[in-house]
């Protein structure tokens, strides 16, 4: 029996006014009751369009059916066949442009809230803290570089197939962007920690504080007996605009700002990490990272936080839900605005901007923003956060002979398997695509693991 209501069950959230002053998770999650009712909205279509929309191809109707039946652990097992980090995906995946985009219920009304139910299933599994099954070892060593979404997924998939997997991570904690980038109020670190612990219980070894390209090279990993290497080092190198004043005090890359707040825990009282407690903050950029930075700045006590974006709101790459949450919390959206200089003596005092108007569509298919002549104006700020994108880190490409990269520094892969120009070296995630999403990186990690498995079997 299906629940034929046209809209999703609302996600319970904290009150915007209250939540904008602390870092507790905004979305509270479905209860068992709501999750079952929402799962009943699934029509169990035979052609399963939602599965095609999922980068890791979770059997969505099957896990929803288990939820309807009250078999939450069974539902978890269905998800676990395809996904390594469901508690993370349930929170940060852009479902509206993936699985839910293809849901038949979305034709007339809203799609099934697949992501929210996935989160419910993953959270209840983590809460049970069952022992993880440890797959038997086949004695073949595989190396994974980078403990972010791509690397963790690849490692989990390889371990499930019996390989002895070691992940090498440059930072002092695993998680990559999940721990340094995405803030606590959107993805609690306890969730990431639990997912990582799950992998460790499965037998994945995580070596932190090892920088591949410096401490060890890719070639040395082969000398150590690893059969294949997966590179999932992300796109961590921050871009700046190249405008005057970007080195003034009070100008941050979003990476630095978010790393101080999240990884280095500047948001906690008594934290040893210094951070500027700015009153008026401008965040430049229109993606999820810009939303995260703006909402963090607000929670650190800023009185006014603006998003400055050179196109209009409909071109913003951020998830709609993130934009809505940011607006509810009082973030000011200054659209069709482009900074031309950061002003100040030593500390930032204001940011000089031009008004923009939309012209003809450009290569990205979005309307090209053009300057409105004579429209210069200043916004008073004491901090500016540049959230205009990142490039892949050069450490591996400059220390691995024969590893082909493109003009942006992204690693070139031969096909979907993630095989690079070097034998036995695979890559995936932002290191290949440039900055994209968590789930696409996970999909790439999974595909590469399958290819590494095939190659090992055929060698």
């Amino acid at each position: 029996m299906h629940d034929m209501r046209l809209t999703k069950h609302e996600m319970p959230v904290l009150d915007p006014k209250e939540r904008s002053r602390h870092f507790q998770e905004v979305a509270l999650g479905y209860t068992a009751q709501i999750a079952r009712e929402e799962a009943q909205r699934c029509l169990n279509c035979r052609h399963k369009p939602c599965v095609e929309g999922c980068p890791v191809h979770i059997n969505i109707p099957s896990f929803l059916k288990k939820v309807v039946e009250g078999d939450d652990e069974g539902a978890y097992q269905v998800i676990a066949e395809s996904s390594t980090l469901p508690a993370v995906c349930g929170r940060v995946c852009p479902q509206e442009s993936q699985c839910e985009k293809h849901c038949v219920r979305g034709i007339k009304g809203e799609a099934v809230a697949i992501g929210r139910v996935e989160r419910y299933v993953a959270d209840t599994h983590l809460a049970r803290a069952d022992k993880e099954e440890v797959p038997a070892s086949n004695g073949i060593k595989m190396a994974v570089v980078g403990a972010g979404p791509a690397g963790l997924t690849c490692a989990g998939e390889l371990r499930r197939r019996g390989y002895d997997v070691t992940i090498f991570e440059a930072l002092h904690v695993p998680g990559g962007v999940l721990v340094y980038g995405i803030p606590e109020f959107r993805l609690p670190k306890s969730i990431v920690h639990a997912e990582v612990e799950k992998l460790k219980k499965m037998g994945v070894i995580i070596a932190t504080d090892v920088v591949i390209g410096r401490t060890l090279t890719v070639d040395e990993l082969f000398e150590q007996g690893f059969q294949s290497v997966f590179i999932g080092t992300g796109a961590g190198l921050p871009r700046f605009m190249g405008i005057p004043g970007e080195n003034l005090r009070g100008v941050y890359s979003a990476n630095e700002f978010l790393t101080r707040v999240n990884l280095m825990k500047a948001y906690e009282t008594g934290s040893k990490t210094p951070i500027q407690r700015a009153k008026r903050v401008a965040v430049v950029g229109g993606g999820n990272v810009a939303m995260d930075a703006a909402r963090c700045a607000l929670r650190l006590g800023a009185e006014e936080v603006s998003i400055i974006y050179r196109r209009s709101e409909s071109e913003m790459p951020a998830r709609k839900e993130e934009v809505e949450h940011a607006k509810e919390e009082g973030i000011v959206f200054r659209m069709l605005t482009n900074p031309v200089a950061v002003m100040g003596n030593e500390d930032v005092t204001h940011i000089r901007c031009l008004k923009m108007q939309l012209g003809e569509p450009d290569a990205s298919g979005r309307c090209r923003p053009e300057e409105v002549p004579g429209s210069e104006f200043d916004i008073e700020v004491d901090a500016v956060i540049m959230a205009i994108g990142t490039s892949p880190n050069p450490l591996i490409r400059t220390t691995t002979a024969g590893l082909e990269t493109n003009k942006w520094g992204c690693i070139v892969t031969k096909d979907e398997s993630g095989l690079t120009s070097r034998d036995h070296v695979y890559a995936g995630g932002d290191a290949v695509t440039g900055a994209a999403t968590v789930i696409l990186a996970m999909g790439a990690g999974k595909t590469a693991a399958e290819a590494m498995d095939d190659a090992a079997k055929n060698s």
Binding site: P238, E246, R260, K272, P274
Partner: protein
């Protein structure tokens, strides 16, 4: 976790530790640095490697107490464990082909300058060195520098050891006396490196400085360590830490270095327990 094998006070503010880090020791080269976290919620402190022993798998760091985290580090003893040590980071100093050099060290910077002087000497280069300190109590590595240098000048601000004056005075005297150098290495406080660079620019001697700005990850991720070199933005952690002293915008670096001065001072005072009342 990394074990501290030895610890030794060099003066009241500066101490030296030897760390059990086989992976880092196998790769370390002069000019590179590590990042240390003292405990589980510690800051990431960038520290230049002052020496390494590949056979025993150890590196040495010489650390000056400048804030809360280095103060906490200074309280640890041989046998204690540091939470994290990661490296070697940054590009090694380029020493190949150098036949003559002046190595200028200021304060704790001498600990980083010394391995460069020694390496150059071992490569067969002619080395002069100038080391400067505020006063006699702060002098470190005097004998070590003497052993690798043809000429060695010790300078102090107050004349309590060596000659009274600045390192630039001594360098100028050496050059004026006819000593010639392929390159000058200057490692120490920003102000010192700035004035050494201004001097050597007049004499047209290529000059390498080692930058140690505020940074978090040390792998190119945060961009906090950015500086302007020849009008271009560079990241000290992956493009450096060595840069052409004649191209570095030192005034901008000095300005950026004061970013968290207030908060750091506050944290340090708290750490030293100088404030008796609640802060």
């Amino acid at each position: 976790m990394v074990r501290i094998l030895e610890k030794q006070e060099l003066n009241k503010q500066v101490f030296r530790v030897v760390l059990d880090t086989p992976l880092i020791a196998a790769k370390a080269k002069p000019g590179q640095f590590v990042i240390v976290r003292v405990d589980n919620d510690g800051e990431r402190i960038p520290l230049t490697i002052s020496d390494y022993d590949r056979k025993n798998g150890t590196i040495s760091l010489v650390v000056q107490v400048v804030g809360a985290s280095t103060h906490q580090f200074s309280c640890m003893q041989a046998g204690d464990f540091l939470q994290d040590v990661v490296g070697p980071l940054g590009k090694p100093s380029e020493l190949e082909g150098i036949r003559s050099a002046a190595v200028i060290g200021g304060g704790v910077g001498c600990a980083i300058a010394y391995p460069i002087a020694r390496e150059l000497k071992e490569m067969g280069a002619k080395v002069d060195s100038v080391i400067g300190f505020r006063n006699a109590d702060l002098v470190i590595l005097e004998k070590e520098f003497e052993a690798v240098s043809e000429e060695m000048k010790l300078m102090t601000d107050d004349g309590s050891a060596g000659e009274k004056g600045l390192v630039t005075d001594a360098l100028k005297a050496l050059v004026d006396s006819g000593r010639t150098y392929d390159v000058v290495f200057a490692i120490g406080p920003l102000v010192m490196m700035k004035f050494v660079s201004l001097l050597t620019k007049r004499y047209e001697i290529p000059t390498v400085v080692s930058m140690n700005p505020i940074m978090i990850d040390g792998t190119g991720m945060c961009g906090g360590c950015r500086l302007t070199v020849g009008g271009k933005m560079k990241f000290a952690c992956i493009d450096g830490p060595d840069f052409d002293g004649h191209l570095v915008d030192f005034d901008e670096m000095l300005m950026r270095g004061r970013m968290y001065a207030e908060q750091e001072k506050h944290a340090y005072e708290k750490a030293c327990n100088l404030f008796k009342k609640e802060v």
